[in-house]
């Protein structure tokens, strides 16, 4: 039993170290995959929310059951307008999501760079002075 525990503890320490080392790799593999999944889902959800698919498939269908020529023409224009507006809304959303992804991509290198820059610029000289 003691062997199991000592082997287990050794394994545990390696694992913990591995967790720390694996962090940046995870960020750009599984982590990124999760963020992209979220981004895709969010855009799709917004597409359904805005009903863009429904508006597109019904582009030539008259609204409110008005079947005469004028009705059809007005419908077409209104639908086109709605599609443009909703399309723009979706585009804005896509841009926001895109920015979130970019932010995620840059977050880690910026944090690391910032930390190193200030660590060596500020803390290291102070330590040097102290020593």
């Amino acid at each position: 039993m003691n062997t199991t525990i000592s082997i287990g503890t050794a394994k545990l320490i390696t694992e913990t170290l591995w967790h720390v080392l694996f962090f940046p790799i995870w960020w750009y593999t599984r982590g990124l995959a999760a963020v992209l999944r979220f981004a895709g889902g969010s855009i799709k959800n917004q597409y359904v929310n805005l009903g863009l698919g429904v508006w597109l498939t019904n582009l030539f269908v008259p609204m409110y059951g008005i079947n005469d020529l004028a009705g059809r023409a007005i419908s077409f224009v209104v639908r086109l307008f709605m599609i443009v507006v909703r399309g723009l809304a979706l585009l804005v959303w896509i841009i926001i999501i895109f920015l979130v992804v970019i932010f995620y991509l840059l977050l880690l290198p910026i944090s690391v760079a910032g930390f190193l820059y200030h660590f060596f610029g500020f803390l290291a000289p102070s330590l040097y002075v102290l020593s």
């Binding site: 503890t9 545990l12 967790h19 720390v20 009903g51 944090s111």
Partner: protein, 882 residues
């Protein structure tokens, strides 16, 4: 399939699915558990550590900024380019938070899942692993609570110092988990009930210094894994383990059977818990999708128009579904597919034909639900399902106005184009005609609109209404018939399992499986007017309400509660045989003899048959018993039938008597089961339908027409009879007794010649009755019972009984009555006739006793509390009360 045959250090059983090998590799012993606990704790410590560090750094950043105020470096242009403490803590805080996010997201990630079932893929295959063979670890596919159960099993085995973890440990381990506790709870047993038995079994298991997973235990895990795979689950839950452990240990089944719970019931309860889990996730998915469905007039494509008249006379089923007002549909995939095929194929309207209560409205709700999810054929997408309420459409309107309203509705539907119409009980719109001159049926208006392809209609009706009203009308040609059959008992149990949670919440009671099963099986067997699952649900509602009223809230509803409710509804005693009744049954002969004198053989045979019936040893597909009573007139045949009615069914009234001499020609069948085309039903079928728990007495059967005997042939065989209206009447709670005088003269002769009764019976069956009844008819009787002619001694006892009856009648007037023994002897001799049995005695009693007392009463000599004493030669003496 036994996966494990040999389990040693070198060979380990495994299962192959889709070319991947799975086996149980995880160590669950004490040390491994300690390590895994340590690992979990280390993970938590690390996360907390980084989180705290992050918070502290963020704090330093904020503090430095506040203290620095306006003069802080960061407030100056390009100040952040100069190394400083605030920026350092800022970036460090970020790094810490990023690390925490990474740990948290990564720890909830599921690394392994039960493989997905591939369509027409290979079935799981059992293999053995040798040392060095690679395999996936099953343990990773077990959900956390299942792992916990297995740990508990190991802890139990280790605590008892046992060598192997086997089924009984695993079963006990599972019971630490709530989901498994629910299974026991639904079965109506507590863990404490099982505990002694489990401990007893555990004590017999071999001990060992090191506890390992036994081969039977490994087999359970593999089977549980395969079960999860076959159900298409992502993870193996504790339910699979519990179920497989239960199947692996025969003793468990034995213990449960001592509590009257069989293996199928156990499996059913496991299924019940699964159904509820599935329903919950299905409901969550439905709520998410329902967010996109509009509930007003307007569809998402904005093509519809306002439909004020339609809105006034109909219910919006899709909106109801969005608001969660409709029940979830269980099963019925076949019917839904058929409906969608009809609509998709040719835009055809349909009519669901099924008896009331089988779930036609539930199917409509199911369609609404699928429309909300937009999980329907293209043609039904972005549409509203509107159910026209015929009562609203027709109320306060004369036929002409009703026609007008329907036309308006249909034109609104036509213009809006996003409406699918529903009309429940469509037969109600027929037969409404307008005015005297311009008579027009609403059906033709509707049929016309449907024929023009304005919309589709999903309607419902009953089979009778379909044949009589719809089939040959203009609608019948347009509507495609879809038959909705009554679900079988097992499906009905599943439906009830899904529905019972609502009832439980409403009444604050908990249903045991036995109660639920009884609601279905008993209503299926004894309630014939209605159909499953509605009638079972109806019973369940009453049972829940009664349990709450009688036992209070938060009680367990048992099978007995359900039996009691059905018994009250049907008048059939269904509860377990009680102590009181047990005594009654055991002393049945004695009780019958208090009315019937002599005829030991007959009384014994009848009593034995009834005891068998009440102990539920009979098949349930035939009447409780079928008897043929043979013997001359006045020997007690009818009296015995009456006595059985009184003793077994509680009252003489529970006897349906048919004098078969009234049914001598073939056409009299119509009186028994109803004339073709009539809706009244027959005398026999209606009587049994109203009073299913009774004796059916067929007097003088030999006089009936042979065709009528054929009807009873079927009753005796199947325990049911279909009347002229097509209704099936249940005879399984009746006792069928036929009496017959056939062969009487032979019986009398044989008895005089002192022939043994067994011999008389054989000769009767083989010769005397041959010309009267067909052999297959005689064979259907559980007992052909020969009544012996009465002896003088019998008649004497009967005389005492009759005197007692006279005395009881006078007692009601407050007058006492007594007869001297010599008088009774005299009466018996006078009334004894070996040919006519006890019949003459009744006349003698009438003439000598009743006449004399009547005279005494009429002369006014007798006052209340006086005693009338009967003396020899019909003399009456009155003893005045003091």
């Amino acid at each position: 399939m036994s996966l494990v045959e040999n389990f040693s250090g070198n060979i380990r059983s495994a299962v192959v699915i889709n070319n991947k090998t799975y086996s149980w590799l995880a160590e669950v012993d004490r040390a491994s558990r300690a390590v895994s606990r340590l690992r979990k704790q280390a993970d938590i410590v690390m996360t907390v550590l980084f989180l705290s560090l992050g918070v502290i750094m963020a704090g330093i950043f904020a503090f430095d900024l506040i203290v620095g105020g306006e003069g802080h470096l960061l407030m100056k242009p390009n100040g952040w380019l100069q190394p400083n403490l605030a920026s350092l803590s800022f970036f460090l805080a970020f790094l810490c938070f990023e690390f925490v996010v990474y740990r948290m997201v990564d720890s909830v990630r599921k690394t392994h899942r039960v493989p997905k079932r591939v369509y027409q893929g290979a079935e799981p295959e059992a293999v053995y692993l040798n040392v060095g063979d690679k395999a996936e670890d099953l343990a990773n596919t077990f959900e956390p609570s299942a792992r916990k159960a297995i740990e508990e099993a190991f802890i139990l085995a280790e605590r008892l110092g046992q060598a192997e973890v086997g089924p009984i440990h695993i079963f006990s381990g599972c019971l630490a988990i709530d989901k498994a506790k629910v299974v026991l709870g639904r079965l109506g047993i507590r863990f404490d009930d099982l505990k002694p038995a489990i401990e007893q079994k555990l004590a017999t298991l071999p001990s060992g210094s090191k506890t390992v997973l036994g081969s039977a235990g490994l087999e359970i895990f593999l089977q549980a894994f395969i079960s999860a795979y076959q159900q298409g689950k992502e993870e193996v839950s504790v339910l699979e383990i519990l179920q497989k452990a239960f199947h692996a240990e025969p003793l468990l089944a034995d213990w449960l059977s001592a509590k009257e719970i069989n293996v199928e019931q156990f499996d059913h309860v496991v299924e019940w818990v699964r159904i509820n889990e599935a329903l919950r996730s299905r409901y969550e998915r439905f709520r998410r999708l329902a967010l996109h469905k509009p509930v007003g007039d307007m569809n998402r494509a904005m093509t519809s128009v306002a439909t004020p008249m339609l809105d006034r006379v109909s219910d919006d089923l899709t909106a109801d579904a969005v608001y969660g007002r409709l029940p979830l549909l269980i099963g019925r995939e076949k019917e839904l597919a058929e409906i969608f095929r009809a609509i998709e194929g040719g835009g055809q309207s349909v009519v669901l034909v099924g008896p009331p209560g089988v779930g036609k409205d539930a199917i409509l709700a199911g369609i609404a639900e699928r429309m909300v999810e937009e999980n329907v054929p293209e043609i039904l997408k972005d549409k509203r399902l509107m159910s026209i309420s015929l009562s609203t459409l027709l109320s306060g309107a004369n036929p002409a106005e009703a026609q007008g309203r329907l036309t308006t509705v249909l034109s609104e539907v036509a213009r809006s184009r996003n409406i699918v119409l529903v009309i429940s009980d469509i037969e109600k719109i027929t037969g409404i005609t307008a005015g005297d001159e311009h008579t027009m049926d609403l059906t033709s208006i509707l049929a016309d609109a449907l024929a023009r392809g304005v919309t589709f209609l999903i309607s419902t009706t009953t089979p009778e209404a379909y044949t009589s009203v719809i089939e040959n009308s203009s609608l019948g040609r347009i509507l495609q018939k879809i038959i909705v059959v009554e679900p079988d008992v097992s499906t009905a149990i599943n439906i009830l399992e899904a529905k019972i949670a609502g009832l439980e919440n409403q009444n604050s009671v908990i249903f045991s499986f036995e109660a639920l099963e009884k609601c279905v099986t008993l209503s299926d067997r004894y309630i014939h007017e209605a159909y499953l699952p509605a009638k079972a649900l109806e019973v369940a509602k009453e049972v829940a309400l009664e349990a709450r009223q009688k036992k209070g809230v938060n009680t367990l509803v048992t099978g007995d509660d359900a039996s009691r409710v059905v018994a009250e509804k049907t008048g059939i005693p269904l509860n377990k045989v009680s102590e009181d009744e047990r005594e009654k049954l055991l002393n049945f002969e004695e009780r019958l003899h208090s009315r019937v004198i002599g005829q030991e053989e007959a009384v014994k045979a009848v009593s034995a048959a009834l005891r068998r019936a009440r102990a539920e040893l009979q098949s349930g597909k035939r009447p409780i018993a079928n008897f043929l009573f043979l013997g001359s007139t006045g020997v007690g045949k009818t009296e015995l039938a009456k006595a059985v009615a009184e003793v077994y069914f509680g009252s003489e009234e529970a006897m349906l008597r048919f004098d078969m001499s009234e049914y001598q020609d073939a056409s009299s069948i119509n009186r028994l089961i109803g004339a073709p085309g009539s809706k009244a039903g027959g005398l026999l079928t209606e009587a049994v339908r109203r009073q299913p728990f009774s004796i059916v007495l067929l007097d003088e059967l030999e006089k009936a027409h042979p065709d009528i005997l054929n009807i009873f042939l079927q009753v005796m065989d199947d325990g049911r009879l279909t009347d002229s209206t097509g209704r099936t009447v249940d005879f399984t709670s009746t006792i069928l007794i036929a009496t017959s005088n056939a062969g009487t003269s032979y019986i009398q002769e044989a008895v005089l010649a002192k022939t043994p009764i067994a011999e008389i019976k054989t000769r009767l069956l083989e010769q005397e009755l041959k010309g009267v009844y067909r052999p297959e008819f005689l064979n259907r009787f559980d007992g052909v019972i020969v009544f012996k002619p009465l002896t003088l001694d019998d008649v004497r006892q009967i005389a005492y009984l009759m005197i007692k009856q006279v005395s009881e009648r006078l007692e009601m007037k407050g007058i006492k009555f007594r007869a001297e023994d010599a008088v009774v002897e005299e009466l018996a001799k006078k009334g004894f006739d070996p040919i006519f049995g006890a019949r003459p005695l009744r006349r003698v009693i009438q003439e000598d006793v009743e006449n004399a007392t009547a005279n005494a009463l009429l002369t006014g000599d007798v006052k209340p509390r006086d005693t009338v004493v009967l003396k020899a030669a019909g003399q009456v003496e009155i003893e005045k009360a003091v």
